[in-house]
Subunit: 137 residues, 6 copies
Amino acid sequence: MMKICRRETFNAAHRLFKPEWSDTKNLEVFGKCSYPNYHGHNYVVEVWIEGSINPETGFVMDLKILKEIIHKEILNRFDHRNLNLDCPEFKGIIPTTENLSVVIWNLLRIKINPEFNLEVVISETEKNKSSYSGNDE
Amino acid sequence: MMKICRRETFNAAHRLFKPEWSDTKNLEVFGKCSYPNYHGHNYVVEVWIEGSINPETGFVMDLKILKEIIHKEILNRFDHRNLNLDCPEFKGIIPTTENLSVVIWNLLRIKINPEFNLEVVISETEKNKSSYSGNDE
Amino acid sequence: MMKICRRETFNAAHRLFKPEWSDTKNLEVFGKCSYPNYHGHNYVVEVWIEGSINPETGFVMDLKILKEIIHKEILNRFDHRNLNLDCPEFKGIIPTTENLSVVIWNLLRIKINPEFNLEVVISETEKNKSSYSGNDE
Amino acid sequence: MMKICRRETFNAAHRLFKPEWSDTKNLEVFGKCSYPNYHGHNYVVEVWIEGSINPETGFVMDLKILKEIIHKEILNRFDHRNLNLDCPEFKGIIPTTENLSVVIWNLLRIKINPEFNLEVVISETEKNKSSYSGNDE
Amino acid sequence: MMKICRRETFNAAHRLFKPEWSDTKNLEVFGKCSYPNYHGHNYVVEVWIEGSINPETGFVMDLKILKEIIHKEILNRFDHRNLNLDCPEFKGIIPTTENLSVVIWNLLRIKINPEFNLEVVISETEKNKSSYSGNDE
Amino acid sequence: MMKICRRETFNAAHRLFKPEWSDTKNLEVFGKCSYPNYHGHNYVVEVWIEGSINPETGFVMDLKILKEIIHKEILNRFDHRNLNLDCPEFKGIIPTTENLSVVIWNLLRIKINPEFNLEVVISETEKNKSSYSGNDE
């Protein structure tokens, strides 16, 4: 029942848009978020790791190492990028907040000790957030 | 294990006061919060919805629609109001942070898809919060 | 060109209302802020003092003492109070953010070393602020 | 020496890029900010108005009206837009934080009572800000 | 499914250091956090209490009393102290964020009604947090 | 009338203490801040640069370069350090918030284009801040 959290940020462009749909339907469903030339956000990522404390170090996991994993796996991929155009992780996936937290969770899950539970919380704006904890719990 | 959150704010007056009790007992139990002419807060409401992602839209639920529900059901009722005097929802109910989160949860529960779990988090001040998730989980 | 700042908070009820005007005119000018039964805010007060550093202590002014002055002069008067009904400082004064910063500035000015400049910044909500620095500068 | 402030937010895409320069030089000067497919930000705009209090209303200027001006002049133009592609205001102007605050200041200046001083503060990220007060002061 | 939260802060010095290890190994494992002359943090403590609402008061637990318990048990012990040198609670325990939340949880657990669940969330910096909920749940 | 700002943070230990004074006098003047084994803070540094926009780049000054200067001159010196014991910059200087902003201003002034005005704002806690703009303005 011990959890730790590391917070990082990145800035990216995106739009919500389904190529199978007409522009009118996209605008109807996604509103301003579907505008063709993209908009963007300062995304905040909180990564929560649940596990037990290593009595040798007093750490569940070294937060410096967690920081490095987030930088290597997430910020290097998405920071200052266009999620729709630059990021193959979103091929066929609409970059909603929800899908972004799933994509980030999947990228981190394989880098984090499988004994630990993992939760990813994304703030897209001051008002909109999502949280994903996987299906394996 | 997917959750989304919408954050909204409203400003209201209230006092903590039990009409069955004497003024002295009210002051003893509720302290400054019982002062007769009311005080007030900038309430922050975070509404968390837990459900699965609709593969058509990439949304658990459209956050624009959640925003509209919160405005219609909560802000229209309580913003710039006196919870004790203006709001029949608090008839016989002391407007503590705890009761406020229950009242808001009940108002939202009937407007939100019953397949989704619902949690309401209220910040009354920078230091005091409450969270209610219902009895049905 | 050295300034220090102390931040404190208080919670109060108020309404914007001019007794000389009809209810209709009050509603026209002040909107929701004129509702008869009051609403309220978590007010944030930032008090900035400009002066030179005392070489004995390294302080412009001891922030503990500034804290005590703010508690005694401002929080004791306004915290958990109704600015319109309970506070003679607002007799004949509409408790707008602007007037609140003037009232607080006047109350503090006489307690602060006259060699120091004084600025009072009030946040009424996350979105609305005022700042007053007096007429004597 | 009285100022009021209204805070609003919008989300936009942009890139820092000078068409007269080669891609290599753009990358050299602007780094990741020059990436071709844009990135984006949650921009925070704080508009400060300096003037004297109208004794009739207790307002320097009604913050509801200031809010409406910011929505009409700024958010309608830039929210969910690509500053480089969608906004003629940035034709020939690199959308740096600095230039953004000048553009916004110019758009607001003509809508605000000329007796009032105006300052526009932009937060591009949690770490980068700019502030512009015009040349006329 | 009702929780309340009280937020308090304290400022303390600490270093991460294991006396059984050489300085080199300490530096290897704990990095800058092992520097010999200590560094420090503005710790934020959020105490979450889960229980049911007392229908007499509308409180799970009076937040004023929770505040007093946190001041007496936690801030009196740790505020403006050196966790390694001044605090017997950390004898033989490395003052990591994780261990700090366990120590604080243990100190509070015996003061809080055993019918209530307890969670302690510590923010060491804006980027690093831990949360502990005990073993008894 | 154009200013830009970069925000950085560091964590350090310190105590307020004047060696010429007895322990009793130190405690009298500096209170808890004089405790012998140090306490610490998450210091927030905001560096404001005032100048005109370079029409070539749209920058007053490249914020990436400002970031590097702050890291090299300030964070490398003070992060995870004890201001009293480790930092010759505070030899004979009590590390109050005020003096810290002067020390940081002096270290930055010689690295920043002399055509630009410079202001350094330090947050020691959520409640205590100082700001220094030099004597040369």
